[in-house]
Symmetry: D2
Subunit: 344 residues, 4 copies
């Protein structure tokens, strides 16, 4: 029986739908409020036909209408989390924001990333950054958590232990990522039509994507060294999954086994991060909360190559948000979260 309660705002989107799916199977947390904006008033089954036919109806995203719950998840568009997040936190609830409003550590970084002033700059830095493998203590001790972006999750897990161990140089790290289309959300866009995506791959947001400052901030906090990153995201013709291929200059003659050992040691006791000895496929992580890592050193050019695969909607969004909530609620972090994916 579920004894803890949750609200999901933005339940009509991809990440919101995944939260509902996960929470419906969670042994300790039950959803008691589903919020939506455009779709408020519609049946859950009309918006997410895969979730089953029962009679739940989407209510409002307005914080006033959210009942007191043990944890509220915000799966809202960029810029839409700040107000409800602070309102719900102000009522004493635990809040996990899947959006980007509270991820960065300073007003300056926020402006660099988003080209606008933060509506509540004093709030920045007060929300724990929600990668449990790196910031688990902060998350467990915080009532407000900003769940990371999908790309930063993949890259930060790959690079933080190497930077912390001094095995790679912090300057000019290349993060080359490919994502499935669900990373761009569920609103219709001409460039995300099946007839515009299938059978092709493209880069986008070259050098300007807002996840680059987030990666730098998170790696700085996790590794104690401020890196500079060149980030090029790509859209691949698939629904889910992110593969980040990271290139960094090796420090002090580090070899491939040094890289692998540093990663293995960092994540030894972590249920969802696994270091493997072959290139990880996003397929192997889709449907799971897992992150698969592999690393190589190229002595010839002095370059470390680290590959990181996740499901952008689970470890990159809803799964990791729930992992954080588990910690905030005093549960085992893996509760209700699958390690196994869906496809061989």
């Amino acid at each position: 029986m579920s004894t803890l309660t949750a609200a999901v705002l933005g339940a009509s989107g991809y990440a919101g739908g995944e939260l509902v799916r996960l929470l419906d199977e969670h042994p300790a947390i039950g959803v008691v409020h589903l919020g939506a904006h455009t779709h408020a008033g519609r049946r859950l089954g009309d918006v997410h036909p895969h979730l089953g036919g029962e009679g739940r109806v989407l209510a409002s995203n307005a914080p006033d209408e959210v009942p007191d719950v043990d944890v509220a998840f915000l799966a809202l568009p960029h810029g839409a989390s700040a107000a409800p997040g602070m309102a719900l936190a102000g009522r004493g609830m635990r809040v996990v924001d899947l959006g980007s409003d509270f991820r960065l550590d300073s007003p300056e970084r926020y402006e660099e990333a988003y080209g606008a002033r933060h509506p509540a700059p004093a709030e920045l830095g007060r929300w724990a950054y929600g990668i449990p493998e790196l910031f688990g203590t902060e998350i467990a001790g915080s009532a407000t958590v900003a769940a990371p972006g999908c790309y930063p999750t993949s890259a930060v897990l790959a690079l933080a232990p190497l930077l912390a161990a001094g095995l790679v140089e912090p300057e000019g790290i290349v993060v080359d990522s490919a994502s499935g289309v669900t990373g761009a959300g569920r609103s219709p866009r001409a460039d995300l039509a099946f007839g515009a995506v299938a059978e092709g791959i493209r880069a986008y947001g070259v050098l300007t994507h807002r996840h680059r400052p987030e990666m730098e901030a998170a790696l700085g906090a996790a590794a104690g060294v401020e890196p500079t990153i060149v980030f090029v995201p790509h859209l691949a013709p698939m629904q889910r999954g992110i593969l980040s291929t990271c290139y960094a200059r090796l420090s002090g003659g580090a070899g491939g086994s040094d890289l692998v050992e540093a990663l293995a040691k960092a994540y030894d006791a972590k249920p969802f991060v696994r270091v493997i000895d072959q290139p990880p496929q996003t397929r192997w992580t889709v449907g799971s909360n897992s992150c698969l890592l592999a690393a190589w050193a190229d002595a010839r050019t002095g370059t470390a190559v680290v590959l990181s695969a996740i499901d952008n909607l689970l470890k990159g969004a809803a799964g990791q948000a729930l992992q954080c909530a588990n910690l905030m609620l005093g549960l085992d972090e893996a509760t209700g979260l699958p390690v196994a994916g869906w496809m061989p």
Copy 2:
């Protein structure tokens, strides 16, 4: 804690892998033996990298090496189930065969479908046919169950209630189905390469597919009337899912609401079959053990159209096999089986 034990033979294939994935999450049954043929001796994680990294090793498919378990699942190629199925059943174990060896009710039907004599004709008709919504009592009372083929599952669930209620004529029913590629198994084939499947759809086995006699036998047993079926399966460029579009002549002026009501009534108390009022998408069932049905009547031509969507690997294979096993073991049939799918 799992207190019941299971063996999975053919664990390296798609259906076998799904059984392992489901059983690893099952609250009452634990896998204690994983059998394979070509892959015997390899680590499970090498064959199914998505299932996680632990150290389980694939053992043999040979029945002699299977320990005494509460239920053995056979996910073996056509023709390979008969011998181990009888051997394990002879040792007193419950056996669920996902293969085709014990599905048909008579040696004649077997020869019609497979063009060869059955190796143990006396066995035919002794195994319960594993569609729990239609043959639940037989399944619960049987130690040996033949889990149905994927296409028959979709078509029989769609048509049995209509035939039983006399709403459609049994002669010349058209079953036009489209399946994802996992229905063809995991062995490499030139015609199943990504470069041979993507961006195309094709029919195959036109009028000769061996699932046609199975559909006729199962509908005959379920509805008490022997239909004749024209069956054309298609391969669609997707991994999972079957959509069957069934066309039958309306009897006695039946209308669309008669069809819908007969289906709704038949599956009212069934957790996995849902009658909806729009065309079901396979996407909504993939990842679940659900079957979605919808029906229309065309008064103009006197034709019933019934659509049926399932996940071929779950309700069409591993999920339904586990549903049967639950019944055989005295558990709730839905134990450990998802109703919700993966994709909106």
Copy 3:
């Protein structure tokens, strides 16, 4: 050197873009006017980046702005062709309408299909129906041609010779079709997003699709017998291609070879229709103006099964429109049209 001139209205859509691509390679016809609506004023290369980078700009769709050309192609949304089509025809130009406004033969049929009155009912029946293999003489002798819908092209080519030869009964023919997404046009729609289409198949417009009356009208005109059709279209996760699986009751003991011979005889001298002895794949037609047919007879149930594969954007739209224009201009019908497709 191109000596004949063409205009393409609706050049920004999928069919319009294909017309531009084909005409750019055509040895006798050159495009001199590209019309668009929303995209008027934009560079062709911005709207169709695959067509090359040269400096052509999209002009208006307004008929007043179309110069005198030898043939005008209208690739406009439903309902938008009637006015410009009549205006351009009134100026003495040859017009090929790829839209649906002039396809049907009577106001009654139009209202049945579209649920509204035709804006110029007297015009219905005056435009030749543009399947050159069946109506070549009318097309060659007409200044106005209505190019058929994609589904009707596939089904009418499959069924007309069999109906004309009396090999199948006209009542209750089932046409079960699967199309790629480009058949639904290029405007953004939530249900056509990659994340809503990939890995799934669905029916839509069950019994109500407007191409059913068109099929009946065209088969009536081609075969001299008025059939009734049950039509269920499906959306498959691919960009291009239509496969129609047609089921009809056999007449007078016709066998499979009778069907094949009737088809082969009908299309013996036709460059784009080929009868083959295996199930045709849409892949083999994509990129070509070809239609591949195959037929079987099921003596057991008295059913003919005919499979028909085309590229919905070529034989089902732009290619066939150009084939018609070739005839109207006195050229060989195959000029500038590929028989070979893109994918093995």
Copy 4:
């Protein structure tokens, strides 16, 4: 009328099939010999059903059975070109080898790339390297041309002008590429099944792919400076297309416009290479012989980012081989080669 003759060895593969398709439309060259190995004796239409139904039969790949032609194309597996290539060249024919046997410039480089001795080391360096935009004079003056690998084509076109102009440093250039599955050939492989590729992206051959030495050799020859490259290829779930994302350190304060201008100047008069101001999509090149380039400079980290998109089977294989043959035969290099692709 075709007055020049060609042979295609390895006509049953993807690149061989594309050569046949292109040559069938070529105004000056006609195919007179189709060679195959396993498929010798089969009809072309059985192996490439998309190429039409006529009665051509695949003959042998054995050089003795190849008639005297103006140009022979070898589309054979790695290692299979050397003997027939030298035999046919020895008979005085022009030969374009699409394989890898003659691409490298020295026995040492060959051993580095392929881990084996070259069977005819004296031949290395005698075959022109077939990128017409960079080595057009050599190609036009040579009777033997080694058509480049698909990945090297994309990367060398992107980087050569920048290295030649001194705008980027030659050391430690990162080439991160994603390819469709046809790059891996047409033989069945478990890891290339639709059910193993769809919905996923993966790296492979990390740091060890044999195209890395080829890139270094070609760039050295084209730019007069020997670079070192870190190369990580990826497999994307699509049939055709390569996108290479190249990262190099900027030299001497070069900015984005410097990069763009150097590329534009290098390819100003080249019909198939186009520099655009947005990230190129592989979709826009598929079906064409075009290469689309775009470049950015990141002053913050001192990094150049160059994107390069091609169709791996055309500009990366059959198209470029034909472009070379055109030059060798004294034709315009663009003869019979499309600039426009298939998909918007």
